[in-house]
């Protein structure tokens, strides 16, 4: 080729290798690819097999890739060739010419200042109007994050909706519970832990919260909202498996290690006339991680 980019001085255009062996290897790549592709089709027709499909597809694609890349690397002109790198900036004259052209066009826009301002106002108004439909994407948070579906007297039920009676859980036992009628409710999920036969006081003011040694804590981690799922009876600790926050159950789930900044809120419990575990009220503070409107 005569008008292509010139070679770097002192180099020859001879491809580094023109060996028959190279050509054979490339040919082999294409042949393997063809056979593997046909094999893939047969395999699919026979019902498929994931591992073999992956291997055959890899052989097909890899064979083609090996062949083309090898062809380019060993049998095509590799130079090195030289090409000039023109300056990126335009010449002063070109820039000047552009500025003049642009100014000529925008002269009229610049002169009618009143119309320009009205247009600006209209565009701004349109922008504001277009923001409103975003509101439809979700409801007003309001104070929905500050309470859960627990109500005074609500029976604690397991995920199947079965209520928990005082003798259902042995000391050291644990159950994920919800208010009756809300089984599976993400924000009301509560850990019911029986730590003793006797009432346990986790903090002053919570003397009547733990009938028959039952304690209840929000299962939503105060760090990032994961379910605090791991309970160790021997140490009376709860662990959040997401970021490894550790809570001390007997001290009202005070965080003792890890990133959780606050104790898990405790649900005040009592037993109803039939011996079922029920809530005295909703949680006394918002459950879960902090949010802007949480005081």
């Amino acid at each position: 080729m005569t008008d292509g980019p010139p070679l770097l001085d002192g180099d020859s255009d001879e491809p580094s290798l023109r060996l028959r062996g190279t050509e054979r290897a490339i040919a082999l790549g294409f042949m393997v690819a063809t056979l593997a592709a046909l094999g893939l089709a047969v395999l699919y027709a026979l019902g498929g097999q994931p591992q073999l499909e992956g291997v055959l597809l890899a052989l097909t694609l890899g064979g083609i890739g090996f062949g083309i890349a090898g062809w380019g690397k060993y049998l095509m002109p590799n130079g090195p060739f030289v090409q000039a790198r023109e300056p990126l900036a335009s010449t002063a004259a070109e820039r000047e010419h552009f500025a003049v052209t642009f100014e000529r066009g925008s002269e009229d826009i610049g002169r009618r200042r009143f119309l320009r301002r009205l247009l600006g106002g209209a565009a701004t108004a349109l922008g504001i109007a277009l923001l409103f439909p975003i509101r439809s994407l979700g409801p007003n948070p309001g104070d929905s994050l500050s309470h859960t579906s627990w109500t005074p007297g609500a029976r604690a039920v397991d995920v199947n909706g079965d209520p928990v009676q005082v003798d259902d859980i042995a000391v050291g036992g644990i159950e994920t519970v919800f208010p009756e009628g809300h089984a599976g409710d993400a924000s009301a999920q509560t850990l019911l832990i029986r730590v003793s036969d006797e009432p346990v006081v986790t903090r002053p003011g919570r003397e009547s919260w733990s009938p028959a040694g039952y304690l209840a804590f929000s299962k939503v981690c105060t760090h990032a909202g994961c379910p605090v799922g791991l309970y160790q009876h021997r140490t009376e600790q709860l662990l959040c498996p997401c970021h490894q926050s550790l809570f001390d159950v007997l001290e009202g789930c005070r965080p003792v290690f890890g990133p959780a900044p606050r104790a898990l809120p405790q649900l005040p419990l009592m037993l109803d006339a039939d011996g079922y575990v029920v809530a005295q009220s909703d949680y006394r503070e918002p459950i879960g991680p902090a949010f802007w409107n949480r005081s």
Binding site: D9, Q51, A58, A69, Q83, A84, L137, H223, F257, P289
Partner: protein, 482 residues
């Protein structure tokens, strides 16, 4: 250089089979000259220039496999009872999203390979972008005139992370559902508008019925379209500005030395694309990834231990784990703990990345155009900072697996966390300092400035003394390995 086509020597050119078609297009597009210059375009060759190609071609694999998956996946949280072919899940209540993911894995022929290739391609895509970014950083390829392409590239990295997260959330399995819960908490923690933002994105309090269908349109349309757009600009800008090159014989700031686009570079690059796709296919077939059927369907009150996200989210997971348990409560408002590691840290990370070309120009006062790349050793401060950054994010990544480290080395979780809290500050400084010294030593060695080693001689009395520099006094060249 004259670009005018000059049929050489009056010799008639033999036209190939495509000549008539080419003429048809040129009659309408006037494209011959542009196309000819494109074919002749010279591309510098270096193995590290292929890193960006790995990212680009794994994106191609993502598009192809992802399109296939859309034909089977159902982005809906409507509950169904599973009756499919995977026995352990039969009779369980799950979302349609999870059911369709299980079905496309087990009941759609070739579906599992496509799904696993898609996941592997995402892992390779983001990995290649990160390594490519490191190459561009350490060689100073972001300097004038390439600041724009640096910004485009960092934007694609962010979009890649967003789409990776959105993508692995779609199956609605137990692991990804937990990830979405954490994302909700992160949104909630943002001051002033955070609660509203979380409600608007999720469509209400967690868990909402809308999030999967919203993530779906984000994952398969909005973000891929943005990446494709940015990728197009990335290539067009690179094409227009011409690629950088390393210093070497005959290479200057005003030329490009390499192989022509047609046919050599085209063959190498297309061949490379097939090879990358081949590797991803092998991974997709042989290396199990994200076996969602083992995790089970998402229930907001369930979680599995050792929940780790995909690798590119590991640094955020680690930051969430080792950040101290601080929280801000003041004036009747709160800023949640997760705000600092999961909003502020990425904000600073990407803020620094975006502005790096200008920050460096400001501090070095180097505002010149550069087409010749730096060797990392010749920019010791930059290299040291890059090394420090890599170590910082690697420690955070390691912190994402504190539970796994603790059980592996049989140490207490608490001591691991405290160790990493220190290491995240100490190791980057240490590593940066070592890198800085190493750069200076290497640069001195290759420039012949390194002091020749002294020779210690033992005298007859048994004492030692330095006998001055070695026999060849100047030792001016070639003292060190290059």
């Amino acid at each position: 250089m004259s670009d005018a086509p000059e049929p050489s020597g009056g010799e008639p050119v033999r036209h190939g089979p495509g000549w008539r078609t080419a003429r048809w297009f040129d009659d309408r597009l006037h494209a011959s000259d542009f196309a000819r210059r494109s074919l002749d375009k010279i591309f510098p060759d270096h193995w590290s220039f292929m890193l960006g190609e790995i990212a680009m071609y794994s994106f191609v694999v993502l598009l192809v496999t992802g399109l296939y998956l859309t034909f089977f996946y159902v982005p809906s949280l409507s509950p169904v009872i599973y009756h499919g072919s995977y026995a352990p899940l039969r009779g369980l209540s799950m979302s349609q999203a999870y059911e369709s993911t299980i079905n496309l894995s087990f009941q759609v022929r070739a579906g599992l390979v496509m799904r696993q290739m898609h996941h592997w391609a995402a892992i390779v895509f983001i990995g290649a972008m990160v390594v490519h970014l490191a190459r561009v950083f350490f060689t100073g390829a972001f300097r004038r005139p390439r600041e724009l392409n640096w910004v485009v590239g960092v934007s694609m990295l962010i979009l890649g992370l967003v789409n990776g997260f959105a993508g692995y959330s779609l199956p609605d399995d137990l692991l990804s559902g937990t990830g979405l819960r954490i994302m909700y908490s992160i949104l909630e923690s943002i001051p002033i508008g955070g609660t509203w933002l979380a409600f608007l994105i999720f469509g209400g309090p967690y868990p909402s019925q809308d999030i999967i269908s919203r993530l779906y349109v984000i994952h398969i349309l909005i973000v891929p379209a943005l990446i494709a757009l940015l990728l197009g600009s990335h290539l067009a800008i690179m094409w227009h500005q011409k690629h950088t090159q390393f210093a070497g014989r005959g290479r200057t700031e005003t030329n490009v030395v390499g192989v022509p686009m047609w046919p050599t570079f085209a063959a190498k690059s297309v061949g490379f694309m097939f090879m990358i796709a081949g590797v991803i296919a092998a991974l997709g077939g042989l290396a199990q990834i994200n076996p969602v059927w083992l995790y089970g369907p998402y229930q907001p009150y369930q979680v599995s231990s050792a929940s780790q996200p995909d690798w590119y989210m590991g640094w955020l997971e680690g930051a969430l784990r080792i950040f101290p348990n601080w929280e801000v409560h003041a004036f009747g408002h709160s800023i949640g703990n997760v705000f600092f590691p999961a909003v502020l840290l990425p904000g600073i990370t990407f803020g620094l990345l975006f502005t790096w070309p200008w920050l460096e120009a400001r501090f070095t006062k180097d505002r010149d155009t550069h087409h010749i790349l730096d060797r990392p050793r010749n920019a010791p401060v930059r290299t040291a900072m890059g090394v420090a950054a890599i170590i910082f994010y690697s420690v955070l990544f390691a912190a994402g697996g504190t539970d796994i480290i603790a059980t592996t080395v049989n140490a207490s979780e608490n001591s691991i966390v405290w160790f990493l809290r220190g290491a995240v500050f100490v190791l980057p400084v240490l590593g940066g300092y070592i890198a800085y010294r190493l750069c200076n030593e290497l640069a001195a060695a290759s420039a012949g400035r390194r002091r020749a080693p002294g020779v210690i001689v033992r005298g007859p009395g048994g004492g030692y003394e330095e006998a001055g520099p070695a026999a060849e006094p100047p030792a001016a060249t070639g003292t060190g390995g290059d």
